[in-house]
Every structure is written in C-alpha cells, then in structure tokens.
Symmetry: C2
Subunit: 304 residues, 2 copies
Amino acid sequence: MTSEFLQHVQQAFRAVQDEQVAAIASFDGGLTITRDAWDRPGGGGGDTRAFSQGQVIEKGGLNFSAVEGDVGPALQEQLQTKATRFAATGVSSVLHPLNPHVPIIHMNVRYFSLDDGTWWFGGGIDLTPHYILPEEARAFHADLKSVCDAHDVADYAAFKPWADRYFYSPHRGESRGVGGIFFDHLGRDGDADPHSALAFCVALASAYSGIYQRRAQAFVDRPFSPLEKQWQGLRRGRYVEFNLVHDRGTRFGLVSGGRTESILMSLPSQANWAYDFRPEPGSREEQTLEWLRQGEKGVDWLSA
Amino acid sequence: MTSEFLQHVQQAFRAVQDEQVAAIASFDGGLTITRDAWDRPGGGGGDTRAFSQGQVIEKGGLNFSAVEGDVGPALQEQLQTKATRFAATGVSSVLHPLNPHVPIIHMNVRYFSLDDGTWWFGGGIDLTPHYILPEEARAFHADLKSVCDAHDVADYAAFKPWADRYFYSPHRGESRGVGGIFFDHLGRDGDADPHSALAFCVALASAYSGIYQRRAQAFVDRPFSPLEKQWQGLRRGRYVEFNLVHDRGTRFGLVSGGRTESILMSLPSQANWAYDFRPEPGSREEQTLEWLRQGEKGVDWLSA
C-alpha cells in the first residue's frame, strides 16, 4: 500500500485511541492516566496511556504505536518475503479491574505493510472473567457478532473459533477466558479491500469501551470476599502465564526489541500462585474452571 | 551409560532431596510441606515437595524427578542425535522468602542420557536478592567457589560467567540477581568421568541449604516497610518474567508436556507490576538496579 494509506490508518488509529481513552475515563471517574510519548530507536514510536488506581480499573492501558524498520533475515524467512522494509501501526489495550466480579478485557487492532506491496490487518477482542456467567459471555459474544455482521469483511463464525484456538494455554489445559474474536492477515490474500478492512478495525476498536462497560457496570459495586479476591489473584496468575509463555504478540514484541513497558502494560498490578490450588467441589470457582477446560474448541456461547 | 548408573544417580538424587528437605524444615520451623508423588504418562515420574507459609519461606519447593521416554524428531534435531530413547533425572528448588531483606535462591542438578550412550550432567545455584549487598554476594560466590574447588570436574571461573549469561533478561536489560554458577553438558565431550561429575552435583545440592541459611539468617527477623515489601513484589515480577519468557528449563518443561504444577513451583506467592516504576534517586532500590544493569558479563563479586 501507499505511504498515503499508511498515514490514513495511523490517523484513524490515533483518533480511536483518543476517543476510547476519553470514554474509559468517563466511565471510571477515578482513573489516573499517565501519558508517555516515545520514540523507537529503529524508526517510529508510540503514545502509551497507562491506567492505574481507578474506581473500576486497577491497572491497564490503551496504547498506540506506529513503527517502521528493516526486515531482517529472520523476519524475511518467517514471512516468506524478500521485502526489506516494514511498517506496523496499531492500538492495543488491556484493563484489569479491582473487583473480581468484573472481567478483564483485551483489545488490539493493527495494520502491517511491506515495501513489496503486501499488507494486512489483524486484531480482536477477548474477555477474561474471574467468574464466568454464561449469560454475560453470551451478551459479550452477541456484541462482537453485531460488530462483525455490520462489516462484509468480518466473519464472526470464522473469527470466534480463531480466538478460542489463540487464547488457549496448553500447559494448563485451560482457555484464558470466554474468548471473543481474533483475526489476522485480513486483506493479504485478496479477501478484503483496504478501506473496508480499516473500517471494520476502527468500528471494533470504537465499540471497545461500550462493550466493556456493558459487562462491567452491573458488577463494579458488588461486594467481594477475601476468597473471591484470592481467586482473582490466581486467575491473574494464569493471565500472566498466557501472556509471557504463549501470546505471540507479547513474545514477538519482547524478543524483537519492542518497548517493554508498553508491551507489559498488559500485566496486572498483582498476581498470585499457589501450589496445585483446587477450588471447593461445587463452588463458583470450580464452575468457572469447568467452563475454561472445554478445550481449544471453546464454548458456543451464543447457544450456551 | 548403563541403566545401573542411571539407577545410581536416581538414588543419589533422591537421597539429597530428603536430606535437603529435612535441613530446610529444620531451618524454618513453621514451614508447611506438601508431598506429592506423581507419574508421568510417557514414563517415570517424580516426587514434589511444595513449601508454603513458613516463618522464613513464604513459598517454594524442592522437587525430584526421574522420567524417560521417546526422543521425538524435534528433540533429535535439537540434540543432533539419532537416539530414540532418553532418561532424565534431577533435583530442583526455588525458595521465595517472606522478608524482602532475605534473597530468593534457586538450585538444580540433573543427569540426562540417551540410548546411543551419550550422557551429561548440568545444574547450578543462583541467588536473587531483592536488595543487593556486595558483601553478601561476595560471601555467596565464595561458598560456590569452595564447592567447585573441591572437585576437579568443576571450574568456578567457567561456571560463574555461564550463570551471568544464562540468568539475564534482555527485554529488561537486567540480570536476575547476583548470579552464581551454571553448567551443562558436563561429561558429554570427555571432560569428566561420570562418577566424578555425579559427586560434584551431589556436593553442590548438599551444600544448598547451608549456603542459603548463611545468606538468610542475619535478615529473617529484620523489620521491613511497606515500600520494601512493594519493591519485593516488583522484583518478584521480574523473576516471573525471566522464568516464563527466557528460562530454557521452564519453557522446555512446559512445551514438552512436563508436570506444570511442579515446574511452576518456582513462581512466588505474589508478584506485582507497575507501569515504568522508577525508584527514588540514591535509594537502596536504585542501587540494586544499578548492580543488576551491569550487562550479561555480570559483576566479579569476589573482587567487588
């Protein structure tokens, strides 16, 4: 694609970052937002908005980045390309709530292009409740399906199982949460024109704060016990494990010299581990584990 | 090597596990020890001793395992071998103390053999203080050098920089702690006879609890502030990052179907993250960071 289109994508992603940060700040009045503009030594940079100590959100962030650089031999082999320059731009976010009854959410949209003319979009949204309620998972997936259904280039029926496969921890035999949608290489093989793919990504990112608010607001003032807080810490431990052991975006970022503080904005304020913790039989903690242990195929939440 | 020697190694490692668990229990009278004997589906098994809620040690463990199985194509390529069966046995431990003035310690010794006659030993001990005191690091390294000096097959001058390279987090530009010793493939290329290599590994593992006690005992009753506890949580976060992102043993274990609960016994009870945390200029936290940021070459603690 042209550098003109790249600039167009960057502007659209910057705008959606501003819009979503404002919406989240409006939803969580107590949130501290730290803004950090940074340059990347190899080219480009980013704008990190780190969230802390809100009434709803304990820690999180919503980042924009627009980087470019040389395609080294390793990346050439991985991408099966002879291209020598790349450009990548994206918006990504994770929100870790204070209250264990409120779920964790993650969103990312990104655009990648090479100087041989290849380009694609990728992204997704997924939800990680500490306590899974099927009716909440169903409403979350219904929201995602609505966004997909409004865009010809988006296919909920394909993107939903993609998230189930992606957000799975084989070493635990557990899904990260109730999934969501995930897609990659959109447009690379002629399956989407660039403007339609961008419109879908912007619509998805624009829906983010509303999707979260609808899943959070009924629970933000719900009392919680020390046991429920302990369970949240252990589930956050699993979130840390997934991100550091399996998540391809995190690992690629860390080993390719990405900005560590911005990448690891995804980690919670506090996480816990206990040897071989097993919830009480019949407890809500055990019910959640049962939902998470349905395997890489996940659960068809819209019919669950 | 013969299966007779393998059994000999297994017995020696089991004995050193019992001896070291008893020594740690004697040092930390309040420790809860959970014993878990387990079988591995592909062959062999292990004996996990999980530690929790002691007066000194908040969480940790000291594990024995003896596993065997088929050498799959991936491992054949990695090891450059046509062998079809492997056997591995080892003892490993991590101790996370309650008090931030007491360091974290890690120990591992292991023996690996193939049915083509190839075999080797590996292992090491390294120390991760939350607050680095050069005189403590020096005494720790002096202890390790003494163990090495008593064994012709062990070379502190080679094993010390090996630990510095191994226990390094490139994505943070930080060493995990003050290093220690690390070695691998001992005996594979004719540099050690099997009985001498085993004797060194057993001596190293047998020295473990004493080495830790000498570094811990002066600090276990030292008062600590909320700030010092917060710093411990952040340093534990780095420990989690190292183990899940870089540690080859942990990653090999998790992706090769090892027993997750035993492998992740190395993680702390609680770890914390904060966006771009920077200690006060001139503080003890900043001094520790300066020691950790000396690069992969580490620090020559015996002369520091």
